[in-house]
């Protein structure tokens, strides 16, 4: 049952299996049916499951996301697809003010087993209204869980985990990852929500990252290795909850920290990780922590500008080198 497939196929397979195994699961969103999904994730599912379970919605982000909450409250296990994180702002009221609060403000009477998937990130030259990485924002909100699958295995596993979770789970799929390929073992026991993965062991510096930046970080680690710097590369996997344990264990080993995150720098996930390391492992640090984030601009269209705005392998390498130079 293991083999090499694309990230897109992994998400699709997970949706497909979940729908086969549980009649409560359905997929809803703009163009998930006849069009096949704006990133072609759900291609073929309409033919397999019909329009009652693969629901093309009108352009009404707040309406259909809220409908997902309602359906979840009423016994279903909806998967809501929002095309791109920027559009999710139209549904934010429903997500933050209702989905995240329902259980709490009802004194535990109602829970919202809703899964929301959306594409995130830049690099496709889509400009200022389609390219941002706002998953860190969502990670601020109690009541939500935030997942960021980077690998094909996680793209598959996390959808299943999210569907089993009784609370609202948001999954952020980086748009540039859909075509990436990797191994999928469907029998593997999935790593639980809230657990980070150490993708590369190292003793000199911890590179903490998630999503597409994992691959840039791994590439940087190989370059650094040639210079004798052994980086440990951690994929956070989940931004809420964060896996403090894995982070601190790595910091206690390497004593140097670099965080790589495609969000805008100020107020990003990287800031929260720095804050926690400062709180929980301050005396382990041999040097100030560093971060490579996106430059704080609405993303530009022109390729050279957009690339300059994004975290890149060379920036990671340089930041790591500088960090190693500190006494």
């Amino acid at each position: 049952m293991s083999g090499t497939i694309t990230y897109r196929e992994a998400v699709r397979a997970a949706i497909q299996e979940a729908m086969q195994n549980d009649e409560r699961v359905f997929l809803m969103g703009e163009d998930v049916g006849r069009y096949g999904g704006s990133y072609a994730v759900s291609k073929g599912l309409l033919e397999q499951f019909g329009g009652e379970r693969i629901i093309d919605t009108p352009l009404s982000e707040s309406g259909f996301t809220g409908a997902g909450i309602g359906a979840a409250l009423n016994g279903m296990r909806p998967i809501v697809e929002i095309m791109t994180v920027n559009f999710s702002l139209l549904a934010l009221d429903q997500i933050v003010n209702t989905a995240a609060t329902m259980r709490y403000m009802s004194g535990g009477q109602f829970n919202v087993p809703l899964v929301i998937r959306m594409a995130t990130g830049g690099g496709n030259q889509l400009g200022s209204q389609h390219s941002h990485s706002m998953e860190g924002w969502y990670a601020h909100v109690p009541g939500l869980k935030i997942l960021t699958p980077a690998t094909v295995q996680d793209a598959y596993d996390m959808l299943h985990l999210a569907l089993k979770d009784p609370d609202p789970v948001l999954i952020f799929e980086h748009a540039l990852l859909y075509n990436s390929k990797g191994e999928l073992d469907k029998q593997a026991v999935p790593i639980a929500i809230g657990k980070a993965s150490v993708h590369r062991q190292g003793k000199d510096i911890s590179i903490i990252t998630y999503g597409i930046s994992l691959f840039k970080s791994l590439e940087a680690a190989e370059i650094l290795s040639k210079e004798g710097i052994e980086a440990e590369v951690i994929d956070l996997r989940s931004l809420r909850p964060l896996d403090d344990e894995t982070i601190m264990a790595s910091v206690s080993k390497t004593h140097r920290v670099l965080i790589v995150d495609e969000g805008w720098k100020s107020g990003s996930v990287s800031a929260e990780i720095m804050a926690r390391i400062n709180e929980q492992a301050f005396y382990e640090l041999d040097a100030p922590m560093q971060r490579v984030c996106s430059i704080e601009v609405p993303f530009p269209y022109a390729r050279h500008l957009e690339q300059a705005a994004l975290p890149q392998v060379d920036k990671i390498v340089t930041a790591a080198q500088k960090l190693m130079e500190e006494l």
């Binding site: 009404s60 707040s62 979840a72 004194g107 009477q109 009541g143």
Partner: protein, 324 residues
């Protein structure tokens, strides 16, 4: 008109309970036992009572922050609501919700939601779930006329109609959204007419007349089931009190309020009964006593209630168990 005296007494008792319950709330607010925002339903009782009479136990109800009346009419015990208003662990939302967030899973009462129009998309999803699971249920969604201007209203009505979902939309048109009169918020002020633009069957009803509301809701629910399509009713009503406890009511004049008070739903019901063929009369004293005792018990229960442990502050942010 033929009026059944038992039906009439039952309506009257429920409306009276809501009325007296809320008058008590005002008192407790002035004693600072209730805090936060407190929105009274006084004047609008006929709507909740009439609609709930049409609702089955298996149907779902979604209301707003002005929902004491809906909660009581739905059968949530007055003591559970009062304890909630006093922030006690015995409250129906364990003191976490307060006046704006009354919930009751057993009675399928889904709030108590305080984002204007925020409940409408939920209704769409609840009804969608029922249809997918082939359950013969209706979702009843209450909201004020102020909600009509919000985008969520539009998106939800369209989805409900497009997907032919079993939803009863109940617009409580009391003429004002806080201090904003309908004519200053809508270019088209006939709300029922707006609903028709989505091809939803819609009508206006006198929201002060509990019989009219109940009849219209019953017909609507029958129609929803028959046609598998949503129905919209606009109930014309008025709030006799301020929007909340912080409202100087600068935006409307006393004469208008007085004019509407002439249409008090409780008085109207009494008059209807008197002029009805039956000629029977309500035993008002007995009903007042019964209601007073329910409220007295509710207040005592609430006052004697306990405070949730501070150690449990974070309880219910997430579910405890993740089923595998």
């Amino acid at each position: 008109m033929q009026i059944d005296i038992n039906q009439a007494s039952s309506y009257y008792r429920q409306m009276l309970l809501i009325r007296r319950f809320e008058e008590k709330c005002m008192e407790l607010y002035s004693h600072e036992l209730i805090r936060g925002f407190l929105h009274l339903y006084i004047g609008e009782e006929a709507i909740a009572v009439g609609v709930m009479d049409a609702a089955g136990a298996e149907d779902a109800v979604i209301a707003t922050y002005r929902e004491h009346g809906h909660a009581l009419a739905r059968g949530i015990p007055a003591k559970a609501v009062m304890a909630e208003l006093l922030g006690k662990a015995e409250g129906c939302s364990r003191g976490r919700g307060g006046s704006m967030h009354i919930f009751d899973a057993k009675r399928r009462f889904y709030g108590g939601l305080a984002i204007v129009a925020g409940g409408l998309p939920l209704a769409v999803g609840m009804a969608l779930a029922d249809r997918m699971m082939k359950r013969d249920r209706v979702t009843i969604c209450f909201f004020g006329e102020g909600a009509v201007a919000e985008g969520e209203f539009h998106e939800s009505l369209n989805l409900a109609a497009l997907w032919r979902l079993p939803i009863l939309f109940v617009c409580e048109n009391n003429g004002y959204a806080m201090g904003t009169a309908l004519e200053r918020s809508e270019s088209e002020q006939n709300i029922a007419k707006k609903a028709s633009a989505y091809n939803i069957s819609a009508s206006q009803v006198d929201g002060m007349d509990v019989f009219a509301v109940a009849a219209s809701a019953k017909e609507a629910i029958a129609q929803i089931k028959e046609n598998s399509a949503p129905v919209f009713i606009e109930c014309l009503t008025y709030r006799f009190r301020a929007h909340s406890m912080f409202d100087a009511e600068l935006y409307r004049d006393k004469a208008e309020v007085e004019k509407w008070k002439q249409k008090d739903p409780l008085t109207l019901l009494k008059n209807q009964l008197e002029t009805a063929a039956s000629g029977s009369q309500l035993d008002e004293d007995a009903l007042e006593k019964e209601v007073a005792s329910v409220i007295g018990e509710a207040v005592a229960f609430a006052k004697n209630g306990t405070l949730e442990e501070v150690a449990d502050l974070e309880k219910f942010v997430y579910s405890e168990e993740v089923q595998q």
